[in-house]
Structure formats: C-alpha cells, structure tokens
Symmetry: C2
Subunit: 309 residues, 2 copies
C-alpha cells in the first residue's frame, strides 16, 4: 500500500489518529475525497454507503462496502475471498462485504459444501454484543458492573437487559416472523456460494458475550458424508481451524476466538436427523472475519487481480 487516507463525517474530520509511528489527519468524506484513491473501505452504515459508494465508483475508486446496502444488488459482487474471490473480477466499482454471521457460518459450511454438496442448513446463533457496536459492548459491561454493585441496570442499546439474558432478536423483524439478520444468512449464503436452490432456516440470538459469534449448525448434503473427510477439509481450508477434541474438552469458544483471524470449527458429527447430514459448531471473531479482516482480504485480492492483469 502506498498511502492511506482516513475519511469520516464532519463530526470526526480534522481529528488526528496515531498508529505506531505515524499520524494521520482525518479528512471529510465528500464525493471529491475519492478522486485520487484506488480502493476505499466503507464502514459507516447503510445510508452513508448508499450516498458515497457510487461517488467513489464514479471516480475509479473501488468501494468495498461493509454495510448491507449493496449486498443483494445483482451488479455488486458479495465476496468472501476464500470462497468466491473470482467474483471480484465482475465488479462495477462496488464490492460488498457479507453479514458477520453469514461469513462465520460459511467458514464451516463451505469446505463441507465443496466435498458433499450443501442442500440445506439449520442454524442458531450466539452473537456477541460487539456486533451491535462499541456502545453495546459498554452496555453489557455497564450492566454487569451495576449488577455487581447492586445498582439499577441501564437498558438502552437493546430493547431488554442483555446481562444474564439472551435475546432471540438481531436486527428488525419481517412479516414472515424471521428477522432481517436471519434473512441475510439465507440470501447472502446463496449469493456467495452461487447456490440459488440452497435452503436455510436460522434463529439469530444475542448473548452476553463481548466478542466473537458462535453458531450451531445442522447441514444436509447431496452426497453421503464422512466425518474423517470433513475434518480434513476443515483442516486444509485457509479460513478455518479445526478445534475438535471433545475428550479433552476442546471445542471453539468465543473467548478463545476473539481476535483470531481464522474461525474455529468443532463438535463435528454425523447428524442424527438427516440421512446425509453433519452437525457442527463454528465460532469466529465477527469484527475480523465477519467485517474488517474480510474487507482487507477483498482489497488484497482486488489488488492482486489488478496487478496480474
């Protein structure tokens, strides 16, 4: 990378940020700010992306967007580089970064799909509060502190207390009873895998964990499954790490996978309710693979493809 430009709203423009020995001044994210940039990573929410990604694209700056604004747009590739880096070639100035739960689930499902052909899956998530942003992390910490000190708990970021509780509610509800997050897991999985007939039903749940999402998955495949082959596929897949020694109480947990680049896959077993099925448990740091890391990986893949042309 030759140079880095930091852009933000007028609220943050002008501030300085120091990392290691370098200091940057944050500049205003206006259309013209993209004039001399090659790649811009957006992480400012849907409305900002709606407004500024096309402005960047117009100026030959490829926008890698972390919001959900463009993910299902047929003209926009939705990319997890370990799975569909090739889709990057078809971009028209905007590339979308997937939903965090989807990215984490696919780090377990994709290598198995390659082997056995995924038909459908059921998933229940255990999502960390960091998925809702820094304020939600502070809220959980604050509730726990108040609880220990015998003070009333403040509830602001979520509709209900999150400490010592679980909320089967991530993102808004749709008329069919599923949430937007649950729809994303199905629709984005289909798009990333290029598998339009894939079926999925998920329940997305917020748990009092600070960081890293966990997902319990039951998956049905076209072909007969083999646990030994499944383990090998997980082990050799660059996006995942097998963590599966029940006799040693070894399975992925959010505490262990916070801050890790790879997602952990464990509890791998022949599913007792599918004829060709596997049950598994995937844990990943949704701030990494579910967001920032994946966006950087897209930028790297884009750069490599551009360089190789």
């Amino acid at each position: 990378m030759e140079s880095l430009t930091l852009l933000a709203s007028s609220r943050s423009a002008g501030k300085t940020i120091t990392w290691e020995d370098k200091t940057w001044t944050v500049e205003l994210a206006c259309p013209e700010a993209f004039d001399d940039l090659d790649i811009a990573i957006f992480s400012a929410g849907g409305s900002t992306s709606q407004e500024l990604c096309p402005e960047a694209a117009k100026r030959n700056c490829v926008a890698i967007d972390n919001s959900s604004a463009f993910r299902m747009d047929p003209a926009v590739p939705l990319v997890v580089p370990e799975i569909n880096a090739a889709a990057i070639r078809h971009h028209q100035g905007i590339i979308a970064n997937p939903n965090c739960s989807t990215a984490v689930a696919l780090m377990g499902l994709y290598p198995l799909h390659e082997l056995f052909g995924l038909k459908r899956f059921f998933a229940a998530t255990y999502q960390a509060v960091s998925g809702s942003g820094a304020a939600a992390m502070e809220e959980l910490k604050g509730q726990v502190k108040s609880w220990v000190n015998g003070q009333p708990l403040e509830v602001k970021e979520y509709p209900h207390q999150i400490a010592f509780n679980v909320l089967p509610h991530v993102d808004v509800f749709y008329d069919d009873g599923y949430t937007k997050e649950e729809h994303k897991m199905l629709n984005e999985s289909r798009k990333i895998l290029g598998h339009e007939s894939l079926r999925a039903s998920t329940t997305c749940v917020r748990v009092p964990v600070l960081r890293a999402h966990s997902i319990a998955i039951n998956a049905e495949f076209e072909q007969p499954v083999d646990v030994a082959k499944a383990r090998e596929a997980i082990t050799t897949f660059s996006g995942a790490e097998l963590c599966d020694e029940p006799s040693k109480n070894a399975y992925p947990m959010p505490l262990d996978f916070s801050g890790k680049e790879k997602c952990g896959v464990g509890r791998l077993r022949v599913d007792s309710a599918f004829d060709n099925g596997l049950a598994l448990w995937v844990v990943g740091d949704q701030l990494w693979k579910g967001a920032a890391l994946n966006a950087v990986q897209i930028a790297e893949a884009l750069h490599a493809q551009t360089a190789s042309v």
Copy 2:
C-alpha cells in the same frame, strides 16, 4: 397432603428446615425410611436413586425420580403430566421425571405435534448455569464479580470460564460426537411422546444466564402447518404461554421466565427450510418445569389417579 418427611444423606440428617410456620427435622434416607410413605420425590443424583428408589418401591412408596437413572428403563414411565399422565398408571413403583431441556422443548413441541404430527426436529439450547446446581450459579456470579473488580476468575465447575463465554458442552461426550444431554433430548422425547420413529439432532450449549433454559427449534411435521392454528394450540395448552409479538419486541427470555411455572413460546413462524415446518423459541425455568414442578405434578396426577380408583 397429610404429612411431609424430609430425607437426606447422613451429612444433612438431623438438620432442621423451617418454611412458613412449620419446622421439619431432616431424617436419614435409609431403606426403612420409606416404610410409612406413599410417595417419595428423589432429587439426589443417579447413584442414590439407583440404590434407594427400588427400596422405596419395595415398601409401596412410589418413587418419583428426578435423576436420569431410570428414565429409559422400559418398566419405568417417563412422564410430563400435560403430555402422558396416562403412563403413570403403568408404574411399578418408580416414575421418572425427564431431563430439563427435553421437558422445556416439549412444552413447545407437544401442542404442535398434536396438530400436525411431529416428524423430526433440530434444536440448539441456551442453558442456564442453574442446570448444573447451586455451585455453578455461584461460579458465574463469582466470575462476574472478579471480572468487575479486576481479579483473576476462578474456574472450577465447568472446564472453561462461563462468564462472557458460551460452552457447547452439557454433560459428557459420547463416541458419536453428541453429548449425553443431546442424546437425552432425542431418546426422552421419543419415550414421552410414545413416538419411536421421531428423529432429532440437538446441540446443547451452556450460556452465562443464571436461570431458565432457552431453545431454538426447527420442527418438521407430517401435515401442512398453519401458524394461526399453531398459536391457538400453544395458547390453549396448559404447559405453555404464547409470548409472540415481535413488533412489540415481545418474545420469551430467560429473565422473564425465571420462576414461572409455564414455559414461554415465541418466534413462531413457517420454517423456510422445511416443506411442512415451523420454527419456534421456547424458554422455561428448568428448576420448575424441567425438574421440581414436573415432579410435583406427577405426584398430584398419581394421587388423583389413586384417589379415583
């Protein structure tokens, strides 16, 4: 009830317990202690039950056992009174009380099974630490206190820290990769529903919640489903309470169902990955419906049946 006798091991025998205006002296749980009793509720773990339930039965005292020792014994009815109270009639001196997760799941599944005919289900649990006993509750509280005070966290009851973490591990692991708890959910559901061809695959997970288990369920039925009819069946079922108004952020949560006799059912929706399926979310106080309350309900049903003979 004419009289109450409290029995315990030699460690507790001789102690006194006062409740409301009455005081009882705890007596030693030896075989002869059951001589003059009609019904004994056991809640002392598998080995004590193995030893003393047959002694009670021999003395015409019906043992209602909360351990897993006799649940799958073909000679022992496994009973959830709202579902199979009739099975009590066939007892031979011992009646088993089901596993807590199974009892809670069935409070949502049974009324739907009656309507549409349950074929198979997938479930992921969010189990409170109270399921592991009082020491585990103290451990979660202690870890949270230590965390707030910047002290090292003590890990003793579980193989890993439970505060701010989730553990995909409840009870021991079997060779097939499932845990004993996960096996119980399948086998006990089959026995309670009298439905040997039922299939199920579950993932049982401990979460940092003090009390009440939550379960995400995807269920497939023989017949086409109808959400309005499903809602009505839950509403009229004596073991459950419909709590399902997503637009008002109303769904069952462990904080709200701690100490409640009924289990809460919400997030009811047509399942997107089954042809005849429903997805739902069930929450119940496993110390109540999953244990003590169900045992008392069995005793009441037994008494009513005896009285009506």
